[in-house]
């Protein structure tokens, strides 16, 4: 435990993806300056393909290999372990796909700086996934968030986009401030900024018999996370920002920033407030488990119920993403178990859920982008006749929605199964039951969209929606991943995620 001896080569390897991202950011910036405006697609391809290639780096510098052993690096700022690598792969792929699917979006993908900002935000996310220090965590969080505020307001001429950016910024700044206060309290109590050392301090020291200050700090920090993952009751920004932001941005922030935040949330809770931590008879672990379970229940229920009433597809996906955060929180709550095996499955279920959610949501949003770029509409009713108009597009959207709903043979089925399985094993059967009932509510509104596409008629049925090459690639890749993860690929990713859990508990 603690920072090992400094070894530059290994330390650099541990942050290889981040270094590559910085280089890519500079490259994209340069290209954007030197290439004429008409060549902006090249910038997009460089950014997209570059991010895709960088997504392979975490696999190359896989922790545990002799070159890059698992552990803390850079003075304890960074923890290099399987958990961080998996989430890095996720956010990098999400960013790559986002770049590709922004190419043809007017006012967004036509401006080179868009890709730069996406890359910078991704850099923040990768750091977030591996940060093991309060300062690093906060810095990474802000590196993630500030570009996202910019992106949300990226369509300067569009009032809704600007409004969404401002709203996101105000909420975000507020949540950051509360979180920062919590972090500073933790530092004040322990005199440590490293997560793993804080844990040791809290455990070892006779920390009075008063758990209240620690609980207060914990709650404030959870507020910050709750905002990032849009869990109820910190979700108020979600529908408005999702609706107003340019669609590729919505897609990006709905998956990547959520995934990275879940990575840190799990690491933080497990590392700082482990099962063994008891202050004055109060089990802090038990407290946050209850909190997560409660948040899961309200997030799922509120997200799903309010989604029923939505007419705008982006708002629907916004509420659905609140519900999805709720399902994932079931996995976090399943950390309640004292058994290593079950805890590992709980972490793994969160990892898998986010992994599949990234692709699923990007798939759905890609269709929404294509549709709204072609028709200018984001209303669900306008999707009518899509299956006659563009049968393949309707099928892709159906796969995405089914995966969100958790119907086999899509990845979502396994995602939900793992989460519920972890809950039952952790003796939270009631939570699993609430989860499955919510899944049924969810299924209803996803099916309504499918119904609109397949059953309802429209006058534009003879006008197919154009799909340019990058979009075809995006649709093909994401849908294939969703199906593969829902059938033969589930094992591989889940095992990875199980290993990531092993690395979490030092």
């Amino acid at each position: 435990m603690g920072a090992t001896e400094f070894d530059l080569a290994t330390s650099l390897l541990a942050i290889l993806p981040e270094i590559a991202l910085t280089v890519l950011a500079i490259l994209v910036l340069g290209l954007d300056l030197y290439l004429p405006k008409s060549q902006v697609r090249t910038v997009a391809y460089v950014a997209g393909v570059g991010l895709g290639l960088i997504a392979a780096l975490p696999l190359i510098v896989w922790p545990g290999s002799p070159a890059t052993p698992e552990g803390l690096y850079w003075g304890g700022m960074i923890r290099h372990d399987v958990l961080s690598q998996i989430f890095k792969v996720m956010v990098l792929l999400a960013a790559a796909i986002t770049c590709l699917m922004s190419v043809d979006v007017k006012g967004v993908g036509h401006r080179g700086e868009f890709y730069l900002i996406v890359i910078v935000s991704t850099l923040g996310m990768t750091l977030l996934a591996s940060s093991a220090d309060l300062i690093m965590a906060f810095l990474a969080l802000e590196t993630t968030s500030i570009p996202l505020y910019l992106l949300a307001a990226f369509k300067r001429s569009d009032q809704k986009s600007v409004e969404s950016g401002v709203k996101y910024f105000l909420f975000g700044a507020f949540a950051s401030a509360i979180m920062l206060y919590g972090l500073s309290l933790l530092y004040g109590f322990t005199g440590q900024t490293n997560l793993y050392l804080i844990a040791a301090q809290l455990t070892s020291e006779a920390f009075a018999n008063n758990p209240i200050p620690v609980l207060a700090a914990l709650v404030m920090i959870i507020v910050g996370f709750g905002f990032k993952i849009s869990a109820v009751p910190f979700h108020f920004w979600t529908p408005d920002v999702y609706e107003g932001a340019p669609t590729p941005v919505t897609a990006f922030l709905s998956v990547a920033s959520k995934a990275a935040s879940f990575a840190l949330l799990v690491r933080f809770l497990v590392a700082v407030f482990p099962l063994s931590l008891v202050i004055g008879d109060a089990s802090i672990h038990n407290f946050w488990v209850q909190l997560m379970a409660a948040s899961a229940v309200v997030s799922m229920t509120l997200g799903n119920v309010v989604a029923l009433a939505q007419r705008n597809i982006k708002r629907l996906l916004a509420y659905s993403s609140i519900a999805q955060a709720g399902y994932t929180l079931i996995g976090v709550a399943a950390l309640q178990s004292a058994s290593d095996v079950v805890q590992a499955q709980a972490v793994a279920s969160v990892g898998f859920y986010m992994f599949m959610y990234v692709f699923t949501n990007l798939l759905s949003f890609a269709v929404v982008i294509l549709f709204s770029e072609a028709t200018g509409s984001e209303t669900i009713a306008d999707l009518a006749g899509l299956s006659r108009r563009s049968p393949w597009l309707a099928l892709m959207m159906t796969i995405g929605l089914l995966s969100l709903a958790g119907v086999p043979p899509t990845a979502g089925f396994f995602g939900k199964f793992f989460v519920f399985n972890a809950a039952v094993q952790a003796d939270l059967t009631w939570l699993a039951v609430v989860g499955v009932l919510n899944a049924i509510i969810g299924l209803y509104y996803y099916l309504v969209v499918v119904k609109v596409m397949y059953v309802d008629r429209s006058e534009d049925e003879d006008k197919p929606i154009p799909v340019s090459r990058p979009y075809a690639w995006v649709l093909a890749i994401t849908s294939i991943v969703v199906i593969v993860l829902g059938t033969i690929g589930a094992q591989t990713v889940f095992d990875w995620a199980v290993r990531s859990a092993g690395s979490l508990f030092l």
Partner: protein
Amino acid sequence: MTEPFMFPILSVIIFTPIAAAVILLLIDSDKRDLIRGISITAAVIVLVLSGAVYFGYNNLVGQVNTNQAAIDAAGLANPATQMFKDGLAFEEKVPWLDSLGISYHLGVDGLNAPMVLLTGMVAVAGVLISWRIEDRTREFMAFFMLLVAGVYGVFVAIDMFVLFFFYELAIFPMYLLIATWGWVKLREYAAMKLTLYILIGSVIALVGVIAMVLVASNYFTNEGAAVFEAAKASGLLAENARPFSFDMTQLMLAAENGAFDVAGYAGVETLTFAKLWFPFVFIGFGVLAGVFPFHNWSPDGHVAAPTAVSMIHAGVLMKLGAYAALRAGVQLMPEGAQTHLPWIVFLTLINVVYGAFIAFRQRDFKYVIGFSSVSHMGLVSMGWASMNIIGMTGAGLQMFSHGAMTALFFGCVGMVYDRAHTRDIPSLGGFVKRMPWVAVAFIIGGLTSMGMPGLSGFIAEFPIFVGMWNASPNVALQIGGFTLTNYYSIIVVLAALGIVITAAYVLRVTSQVFFGEFNEQRYSDVTDITITDRIILFLLGAPLIILGVYPIIMAPMIEAGLRPVIAILGGGA
């Protein structure tokens, strides 16, 4: 032990329709004849392979019975599990999600082999009757193929997770098929209702099964460790088996050793796992079998669905529910079955009698058949509730018999409706003149439905009643301080009333639709059915007669499949 390479016939059966669906989606949507050709080819391949599975297994039945006699004689430690394992044929087992004890494990025993055959028949009939669908033929056929694949998967799954996987897989294509190609007035409502009903039931059952796996795993790691090791040593479980597993054989082993009957579950002193979860699992799946009061989706769903989907839905999917309820409920939680089936039987009685009454009152031709399904499926659940070999064998036969019969009925209704454009019974009449084949088929189906000797309905329903009657002295139901005994015989009498009503509505419909006055003016353009329609009628009608006069082709097989269930229920023959 190395096994010789076997042709993975069950996987081929499941994946042929899936492959067909993918190919269909890749070809041009205007090539309708090609689309139909691919679909019927896939369906026929599947039917032929299903026939091979069925008759292949039928040849094994003698052998299985001999094995079981040997097991009985030897007095082995876990006879029921041993019987179940030995009864499986055409097994395939590939690790899938190893870390969660999930493997892609398929197999056929006497219970599901007839269901495999039935699915093949209905799949072919379904494709043929959808021949004239012109609206998005490609999508229709692709989704239909997925539905068929899902149904097959449930029937041949020996791993509980695989069963759920395919169960849920089957639901979605059905939703789209009904909502998109169904009867305009009702389709959206009915499709959604059906999907939600079935999914709520199944996901609650899923939670129950996960909890069951967990209990079994705890048992095998603690008090049952010796049983587990012994089972591995004797070859009952695989050598690399782990305590946490979704495999039915392993769960059955846990059940047989009483892992689910330990008092004090969930902190309540008198409660056992089986007692708590049995109703949720049994009725959760029972929703799809139309168990009262959760039958409500069924008539609407059947009426709204396009003919092919009604056929596969009433003919095969409802059996999925009954089948899964038996497999996951009765077979794995025998103690729960003994506690709860004595009251669940009242629900099935309501199914039988009330369903028949409502069917009698309908004006819409298709609703009659829809409610008759509710009534007949009640008999299947009732057969399970008898918990003895005679009644349960009857229920197994009823699953097949009703499947073929109701698919035939829906086929007939579809053929009449396609030509007459109405299903209003009073305004139809005299159709025997124009459509003699349909009339004959409908009468055969109707007689089967009434339980006429010489047809499969009799072979199926009579044993159910006999089984119930025999079970009567052994069953008691505690209500508060009051004990109800010997009431199964009363239930038999009341259920027989349902048969009388069945006869009444079948005769009424037959006389009003096919006989009576033919309205020459209104139905001047009604023509006789085509050759494909005749194939359908033959395919579904012939088994009713064959099984009726020669029940030995199926009855011993189902009996062999049910022996492990009876054994675990603690009963003799």
